[in-house]
Subunit: 251 residues, 2 copies
Amino acid sequence: MATVIAIANQKGGEGKTTTSINLAHGLALEGNRTLLIDMDPQGNSSGIFIEPDHMEISAADLFLQKADVNDVIQQTRYENLELLPSKINLAEVELGTVNVEAPYVLRDAVGKIRNNYDYIVIDCPPSLSIFTVNALVASDYVVVPLQAEKFSIDGIKGLQNTIESIKRRINPQLTILGALVTQLKPNTVLTKTILPVIENYFPVFETFISSGVAVGESHLSKQSLLDYNPGIKQAKEYFSFVKEVIRGTKK
Amino acid sequence: MATVIAIANQKGGEGKTTTSINLAHGLALEGNRTLLIDMDPQGNSSGIFIEPDHMEISAADLFLQKADVNDVIQQTRYENLELLPSKINLAEVELGTVNVEAPYVLRDAVGKIRNNYDYIVIDCPPSLSIFTVNALVASDYVVVPLQAEKFSIDGIKGLQNTIESIKRRINPQLTILGALVTQLKPNTVLTKTILPVIENYFPVFETFISSGVAVGESHLSKQSLLDYNPGIKQAKEYFSFVKEVIRGTKK
Ligand SMILES: Nc1ncnc2c1ncn2[C@@H]1O[C@H](COP(=O)(O)OP(=O)(O)OP(=O)(O)O)[C@@H](O)[C@H]1O
Ligand SMILES: Nc1ncnc2c1ncn2[C@@H]1O[C@H](COP(=O)(O)OP(=O)(O)OP(=O)(O)O)[C@@H](O)[C@H]1O
Ligand SMILES: [Mg+2]
Ligand SMILES: [Mg+2]
C-alpha cells in the first residue's frame, strides 16, 4: 500500500516540480513502483513525459467525473514510474470547486489505486488552492521545497496553518516530513540568516539541493536530472534526498 | 493621467515581485508620482513596506466593497511612491468571484485615482486567476518577467492567450510592452536556446536582469534594490530597464 507524499509550497518557483520529478524517478530507480501525480494546471512535470496536445485524458477528467483514475494513469519511459498527468484544462475545474466534495476527489481516486504502488508523489501548484488541498487531503506526508530567501519565509506560516487545518479537520495522519532547501548558493548571508528561521517551522532535510545549470538543462531535454546526468552535483544531492525520504517513511 | 502597467506571469518565481518593487521605485526616483498595487494574496511586495499585522485595510476590502480605494492607499518611505497593499485575506475573495462584475473591481478603483499618478505598477500572483485578470483589465501595458528556462516557456502561450482574450473582450488598448529576462546566468546553453523562443511570443527588453545575491539581500532588508545598493550590477540593470519602460510608454 503506497506511501503518499505531497510536494507543496504556495510560493512560486521554489523547486516543487524539480523535486517531484526527481523524487519520483529516484524512488522508481530504487525499485519502488511509483506514481507521479501532477496537480498543477500548468502541467510542468507532465510536460517532461508527454506533450499536452497528445493528452486526451488527464487530471481534469477525474475532477469532472468523466474518467476513472485507471484510465488517466499512463506509463512513462522510466521503469517503475507511472504518471497521472495534467494540462491547462484543470484550471477550469477550479471554478466549480466550492462544494463539500471538492477536497476529496484525489483521495478517493488514490484510494482505488493505492495497492498498485509503493510511493505516490504529488506535484502541487503555487497556491493553497483546491489542487494543493486535494493533495494534502490525499497524502501521508508533505515535503516543502523552498529557497533560503526572504519571500520563501513570508509564506511558511500560511502553509503551516493550512497543513494544521487539514490535519485537524480531515486528515489527522498528515505528517510534515520536512523542508527541502533548494537552489542553494554557497555561503551567502541570506543562507545563514534564513536557515534558522525555516527550522522554527519545519524539520529540515540534511540534504540541500545546490543551484546548478544542469537542472534547467535536464528540464529542457525532458529528462529527470538523475537520468540526464547522474554524476553531477545536484543529481547526487537528489539521490541523497531520496534516501532520506525512504528512511523517513519506513513503515 | 497614469499609465498603468501590469507585471504578470502565471509561472512562479519569475521575478514579478522583484520587478514590481524596483520598477515602481525607479519610476518614483525619476520624479513620477507612482502607485504600486499588490494583487497577490501572498503580499510579498507589500511586506517590503508594511507588516501584514499592521495592515488594517487592504486590497481585499476593495473587492468586498468595504472600503474606498482612497482609504486603502498608503504612503511609503520612498518619496513619490505610494502603495495599495494586500495580505492573505485577499485569497478569500477569490471564492466569490464567479460573477460578471469581478474582473472590473480594480479598473473601477484605478479609474477614481488615475489622475493622482503618472504611473501605476501592479504586482500579480503566479496564476491566471481573478487577480491577474483584474490587473490586465485595468492596465495599459503588460510586462512579463521570465527566466531563460524550460518551464518559463511552457506557460508563455497560455499567458499570451489570456492577454489576447482580454484585449478582444474587455480591454482593446492593452499592449504587451515586453518580456523582461530575469535571474540570468551568463552564457549557458539554456540561455542561447530559450531566448529565441521567447522572441517568438513577445518583444524582449534589451536590458536583462542578471542573477545576483544582492537581490535577495535587498528583500531581506526590506528595501528596493535601488535603495539597498544602487551601484550593484542588478540595480544598474533595473535602472536601465526603468528607462526602457519610460521610453516605451511615452504618450
Ligand atoms: N537546484 C536548482 N538549480 C538551478 N535551477 C533550479 C534548481 N531547482 C529548480 N531550478 C529552476 O528554477 C525554476 C523553478 O523550479 P520549479 O519549476 O521546479 O519550481 P516550482 O516550485 O515547481 O515552480 P511553480 O511554483 O511555478 O510550480 C525552474 O526553471 C527550474 O529549472
Ligand atoms: N536577479 C535576481 N537575482 C537573484 N535572485 C533573484 C533575482 N530576481 C529574483 N530573485 C529571487 O528569486 C525569487 C523569486 O523572485 P520573485 O519573488 O520576485 O518572483 P515572483 O515572480 O514574484 O514569484 P511568485 O510567482 O511567487 O510571485 C525571490 O526569492 C527573489 O529574491
Ligand atoms: Mg511547479
Ligand atoms: Mg511575487
